[in-house]
């Protein structure tokens, strides 16, 4: 199974090449971004998106990074998981296991299609980080990972359930976190209160029911750690990127620092932006893309 870049018809030579990979009855669709001049033929970037977005990433984060690194002379590949974007498959079947399977498929396709490839750098967003870590564990070609907003765990009890039986607690919580004007509008009934609540927690609960019966991520990762491999492998490096006010920041940074220490990998954390996440608006995305490109250049050179 190789990457065939002749699937697309184009009027002229364009930098992006649509790609199709067959996994059983399903088809994974992705985009191979080739630079005009490939200055680093031994390297390739593999994007692992989060489960809620397409291959472009939130606010086109992946696209932005791919374009910038293409200008630096690096090839990159981004794809839609089965059940998302343009790939076939059932939407409900997407979970951590299927995401990892798709990532492995893409990894194998890249290594077979480009024989000169020696190193694949993973850029993962949110839960794509889980597949990224597993790929790093099990493959010699993957030595570097850049994880944006990587989660530590998926809570078994979502926040909404703590509040749904207590409107008083909900009001207290919302009054604390909502902008004064928004809260004022809610009190004056200019904004539908329940719509705000539903949207807030509807989003949160979207992935929790799916994973509620599964172990929390910490255990998922631990169960897959090859603890026998305790030899220090300082060739592998993880970079974690978080927004300054990302609520998962502290817990995640501690967790992954411990994890890297256990594996003997190098660990680096980078806190950027004053925004909540690193990719919730276009300005933040452009800033993050610039920083990541500089980091990738330092890896490749």
């Amino acid at each position: 199974m190789n990457i065939s870049t002749n699937n697309g018809i184009s009027e002229a030579k364009t930098p992006i090449q649509p790609v199709e990979l067959n996994i059983g009855q399903d088809v994974l669709r992705g985009i191979l971004r080739e630079p005009r001049q490939n200055r680093y033929p031994n390297h390739c970037i593999l994007f692992l998106a989060g489960p809620g977005t397409t291959r472009c990433g939130p606010h086109r984060l992946n696209w932005e990074i791919a374009e910038r690194i293409a200008q630096l002379g690096l090839r990159s590949f981004r794809f839609d998981y089965r059940g998302r974007g343009e790939s076939s498959g059932q939407e409900d079947n997407l979970d951590v296991e299927s995401m990892y399977e798709d990532a492995v498929w893409c990894y194998n396709a890249l290594t077979r299609s480009f024989p000169l490839l020696q190193q694949i750098i993973i850029i993962a967003v949110c839960m794509g980080a889980i597949s990224g870590i597993k790929l790093m564990e099990s493959n010699p070609h993957v030595c570097d990972g850049i994880f944006l907003g990587a989660p530590r765990y998926i809570p078994k009890v979502p926040m909404a359930e703590k509040f749904q039986y207590s409107k008083y607690m909900m009001n207290k919580y919302l009054a604390k976190v909502l902008h004064r004007e928004t809260w004022k509008r809610i009190i004056e009934n200019k904004v539908d209160y329940m719509a705000v609540v539903r949207t807030l927690f509807g989003q949160y609960q979207k992935y929790v029911p799916q994973y509620r019966d599964k172990d929390n991520l910490l255990n998922v990762i631990r169960s897959r750690m090859t603890l026998e491999d305790k030899s220090s492998n300082t060739e592998k490096q993880l970079l974690f990127v978080y927004g300054q006010y990302d609520p998962a920041k502290i817990g995640c940074m501690r967790f992954y620092r411990k994890f890297c220490k256990m594996k003997g990998w190098r660990y680096k954390a980078l806190e950027i932006n004053k925004s909540d996440r690193t990719f919730n608006n276009h300005k933040a995305v452009r800033k993050v893309a610039e920083i990541i490109c500089n980091h990738i250049l330092s890896i490749c050179s």
Binding site: I9, R29, H179, L200, P247, K274, S275, D276
Partner: protein, 270 residues
């Protein structure tokens, strides 16, 4: 049943990513008929993406060729979001239609537009040589309401992330940028928003030979408001009650079978 063929089109300096769904054996009525799906933009595009993919596949299964594409500055197409203009979006639709006509004997073109995509599709249909059908799904009728919705989403997203409230320095920074306005995380060009506002003030014209079908998922109230914008006496309208309401407003809706059925039955009528 059908073949999915990505198409990369060049538009000046940028490229346009599109996907062409070609039925293997179209029935007699299907030959020469192409449906072009004009998506919405910003978060509505992300929310409705998978729904439109499924819609395109279902139409292709019925034997009609379909094209889906990303506007310049969105999705996999070239360009940045901040460079989006109304003219560019309309030109993109016209480009896709002209490429279709160049590559085959096209006797009928149907445009399906969602939200702002419906506005673009309506205008593009006036400029194209051939645009037989217009299917408009929840067209944006009031720009002020549209911007308010974006603002609320911005607030809610910030709250969902348990983030700090917008500080006075951030507000000042946003207002300092004269050419751009950030709403819900998207950097809109001010001229783009002004152009939409201008469009909003005049009634959309429809060609007499065009068949127009307007679908509303937001409820009956919107239909009466649509009269200010479209001459709804001359078009077929329907309020669609689905399990999820407005699919473009929610990010966990992947398929709307009722929508596909209505659209396919309209397309097959003629």
């Amino acid at each position: 049943m059908y073949k999915e063929q990505p198409l990369i089109l060049t538009t000046g300096k940028e490229y346009l990513y599109s996907v062409f769904y070609v039925p293997h054996e179209p029935p007699n009525g299907g030959k020469g008929h192409v449906v072009i799906i004009c998506p919405p933009i910003a978060h509505e595009r992300n929310n409705s993406y998978r729904v439109l993919v499924h819609l395109a596949k279902k139409i292709a299964i019925e034997g009609t060729a379909v094209v889906r594409f990303d506007y310049t500055g969105t999705g996999d197409s070239g360009g940045t979001f901040a460079d989006i203009e109304v003219d560019t979006c309309i030109a993109n639709i016209c480009k896709v239609a002209s490429v279709m006509q160049m590559h085959g004997k096209i006797t009928r073109i149907s445009l399906i537009g969602v939200r702002l995509g419906a506005i673009f599709a309506t205008i593009a249909s006036q400029l194209m040589e051939r645009a037989n059908d217009l299917i408009l799904i929840d067209p944006v009728i009031d720009l002020k309401v549209y911007l308010k919705e974006l603002e609320y989403i911005q607030i809610i997203n910030r709250v969902f992330g348990l983030g700090k409230n917008e500080t006075s320095s951030t507000k000042a920074q946003n207002s300092m940028d004269q050419h751009q306005m950030e709403v819900a995380g998207y950097s809109f060009k001010k001229s783009f928003l002004e152009d939409i506002s201008c469009l909003n003030r005049c009634k959309m014209s429809i060609r007499p030979e065009q068949r127009v079908f307007m679908l509303f998922t937001q409820g009956k109230g919107v239909v009466t408001k649509a009269d200010m914008f479209y001459d709804i006496n001359s078009v077929e309208t329907k309020v669609l009650k689905t399990k999820y309401g407005s699919f473009w407003a929610r990010d966990n809706v992947y398929e709307v079978p009722e929508l596909s059925e209505e659209i396919i039955s309209f397309l097959l009528k003629s």
